[in-house]
Amino acid sequence: MTNNIFLECKGICKSFGSNKVLRDINIQIKKGEAHAFLGSNGAGKSTLIKIITGVYSKDSGEILVDGKVADIKSPQDAEKLGIAVIHQDQQMVPLFDVTRNAFLGSELTNSAGILNLKEMRRQVQEKLEYIQADFTVDQQIESLSVGQREQVAIVSALLKNPKLLILDEPTASLSSKEISRLFEIINLLKNSGVTIIYISHHLDEVFTITDSITVLRDSRVQGTLPTKEADSKSIVAMMIGRELKEFYPKEQVAAGEPVLEIKDLHSGKLVKGVSFSLKKGEILGLAGLVGAGRTETMLAMYGAEKVSSGTILIEGKEYKPKSPLNAGRYGIAFIPEDRRNEGIVAPMSIRENISLSATKLWTKLGIIQKKTEKQGTKDIIKALDIICTGTDQTVGELSGGNQQKVVIGRWLVGKYKIFVFDQPTTGVDVGAKTEIYKQMIALAKEGCGIIFISSENEELLGICDRIAVMNKGKIVKEFEAAEATEQDLLYWSTVGEERA
């Protein structure tokens, strides 16, 4: 038995502080198979990968490679054992050609440090032919498509002659044509005996390409089964398998007139014809996977990304997004996804952060009225229960939840009609989460329309009136929240398009 197992994890545990991210992980990966790791965000997939590749160290347990206990302490150790990874976002040097990028960091040189370009080209050429790539060794990365760059990354990994190749969500930004090309390559590699670990959210991909599936949930392995014996329903059930346990302070609010109507909105590569409407007093959930185009749709509506076509009506009147400043005038408030980079201005105080969008109301002749500002900030701190030492504390010092409340607080001064919450509860503790939900409901009660983007379907079901599922740039399904289940949402997010 042992000799057809390439990699085996035995009882691996890992904690960050008091937070156990991996508990007693046991997985066997057979030689030459494609093995999928499935699980929702935070299930422990990426931590496990990082342990296998030597980025993190494990707390206990052991890893066996080819039946021998392997001591993987650094990425170099993993490389020596024949383990190569293709990361989610490939970092390339755009002005280099394919050869130079593929060999970056492990260039072939003579003893004087002069590149042996001929040999490098030959080797890359060999691999390119092997995966039947449609570009040449000396093409610049800049001129390649995303899918072709992915192939360069694969070539780069292949140059190390790996026995195990780990692909971390490789299809996130690929078109369906590029994906099928990728699958051809994966099959090719499999046939020549390379073992593959494939991480993805997309069930359809996993069913097409892999031989076995391991489902992780809540830092444990829920089970491994051959792909042939699996079906999407049972896998989805394995991925969820828990009951609603958090408290959602849901209250029924009578929905009013439509406040926002979007018709056939196109923007960039990720938004391909989104249509929906939002009523006053309604909380609309946007479900979907990372990369489904939810954030991009909202950014386009908010004027932060270019809209290529489509119409938007606000309270029945046509609205053309120009800039966030302009969107604010139309009554749109936006709480961005990436709190640290897009939400807060870390070095400024709470007062200054809150008044960023509202300062106009607190100024006279262009001078900020400190008293009014301070009082206004105090009111918001109280209303949102922001835990801090005072209005002048630096926002960078606050906890994640409180930072998020500051960002929300920014939009509570003034008259906004449409609120977009883009994943407001990521990295936020339970108490703060509840506060954020309460705030959303309070706003809905005042007659605002609320769009709530979240990747945690559970909270969408708990808090929304209606849920729209996005997949690959379109809304593929809408549910009344009361009628939907987590399975439904996950099913439409992962399988979506094809069967829609």
């Binding site: 908010y302 932060a304 800039s323 966030p324 400043l325 969107a327 604010g328 936006f334 961005p336 980079n341 897009e342 939400g343 807060i344 201005v345 870390a346 070095p347 400024m348 200054e352 008044s355 960023l356 969008s357 300062t359 106009k360 100024t363 262009g366 001078i367 900020i368 400190k370 920014r410």
Partner: protein, 330 residues
């Protein structure tokens, strides 16, 4: 400097360290003044202090503009050249028979034009400020050299006082014993302080420095805010140029250029006065006075330009290095 910090920390409680952090720079500046005074007793004589104040008003104006630009992570290498050109243009026009008021208007107008060009290049077209303003510096230089046919000095004191009176009065006159330049400068300090620390636009500038993306998403017109600083900077520089020309009674092309160094020293020394080493108006003003006294001391001692440059370089590096160390300690 580092050693001093280190020792104090070993010696003792956080309070002293905090003190050094917050007031070390002020103490250092005062200490240096006292040393100057010990070496040369003329330094702290009232008349000399008065003179230093008056002679550095234009530097304060220029450095304040630079502070505004740098506080949004821009930079304006053209300030000194704009000051230079504005002074030269005004003097040139007066010499060629334009009325003093119109000439002053033209000088300030030049500042505005350069400011707007800078603003468009950096804020709306995306040219990196370092390169864009360096280029503009040379364009402006070319303009003034062509204007004066190769750096001919534009001397005003030979003209009849009835023509130049209004203009020279700006630089040489006083109100109740307080020089006009000082009054203008103090007013400018107050206005710029209000803009930077109290106004909406100042708040937006801080936000821009902290996080451009977040500023944009919270509805700030990022480009406009960035642009305004360049316009203000050039305008202040033009005022500085007029003040120095009026005070000297004439303008020599390229004479003010070298004050770009002083400007940088003042701005960087000024950051030491801020708790979180930000560029700030009051700090810059203090920095200017520091530079002023230093130059004055060197002049009194008859120390040449070379040594001064040497010190300039040293102070810039030391000020920023001290700031970096301070940040690390935190």
């Amino acid at each position: 400097m580092e050693k001093r910090l280190e020792e104090k920390r070993m010696l003792c409680p956080d309070r002293i360290l905090d003190f050094v952090r917050n007031y070390g720079a002020v103490v250092g500046i005062l200490l240096l003044l006292i040393i100057f005074q010990c070496i040369d007793h003329r330094v702290l004589r009232l008349a000399n202090i008065w003179g230093v104040l008056r002679n550095n008003t234009f530097l304060i104006m220029m450095a304040m503009g630079m502070t505004l630009v740098m506080s949004v992570r821009g930079i304006d290498l053209s300030v000194a050249q704009v000051a230079d050109a504005a002074g030269v243009l005004t003097a040139f026009l007066i010499l060629n028979g334009t009325s003093a008021v119109a000439a002053v208007g033209a000088g300030l107008g030049l500042g505005l034009i350069v400011g707007v060009v800078n603003a468009v290049l950096m804020a709306y077209l995306g040219v990196p400020a370092l390169i864009g303003t360096l280029g503009m510096m040379y364009v402006v230089r070319s303009f003034e050299l062509v204007l004066t046919n190769g750096a001919q000095p534009q001397m005003l004191f030979t003209l009849n006082h009835s023509i130049t009176g209004f203009f020279l009065n700006i630089g040489q006159g006083d109100v109740a014993g307080i020089p006009n330049v000082l009054i203008i400068c103090v007013i400018a300090i107050i206005i710029i302080y209000l803009i930077k620390e109290r106004s909406l636009i100042g708040r937006h500038m801080d936000a821009l420095c902290g996080n451009v993306r977040a500023s944009f998403l919270s509805g700030i017109n990022v480009r406009k805010t960035f642009a305004i600083t360049f316009v203000l900077s050039s305008f202040l520089a033009a005022m500085a140029g007029l003040m120095i020309t009026a005070r000297a009674g004439g303008a020599t092309p390229r004479a003010v250029e070298s004050y770009l160094n002083d400007c940088f020293v003042a701005v960087y020394v000024g950051t030491l006065l801020s708790k979180d080493r930000k560029f700030n108006v009051i700090g810059t003003v203090v920095g200017c006075l520091f530079v002023g006294f230093m130059s004055n001391f060197f002049t009194l001692q008859g120390i040449g330009n070379g040594t001064k440059q040497l010190f300039n370089g040293f102070f810039i590096i030391a000020a920023v290095a001290l700031g970096t160390l301070r940040a690390k300690k935190k």
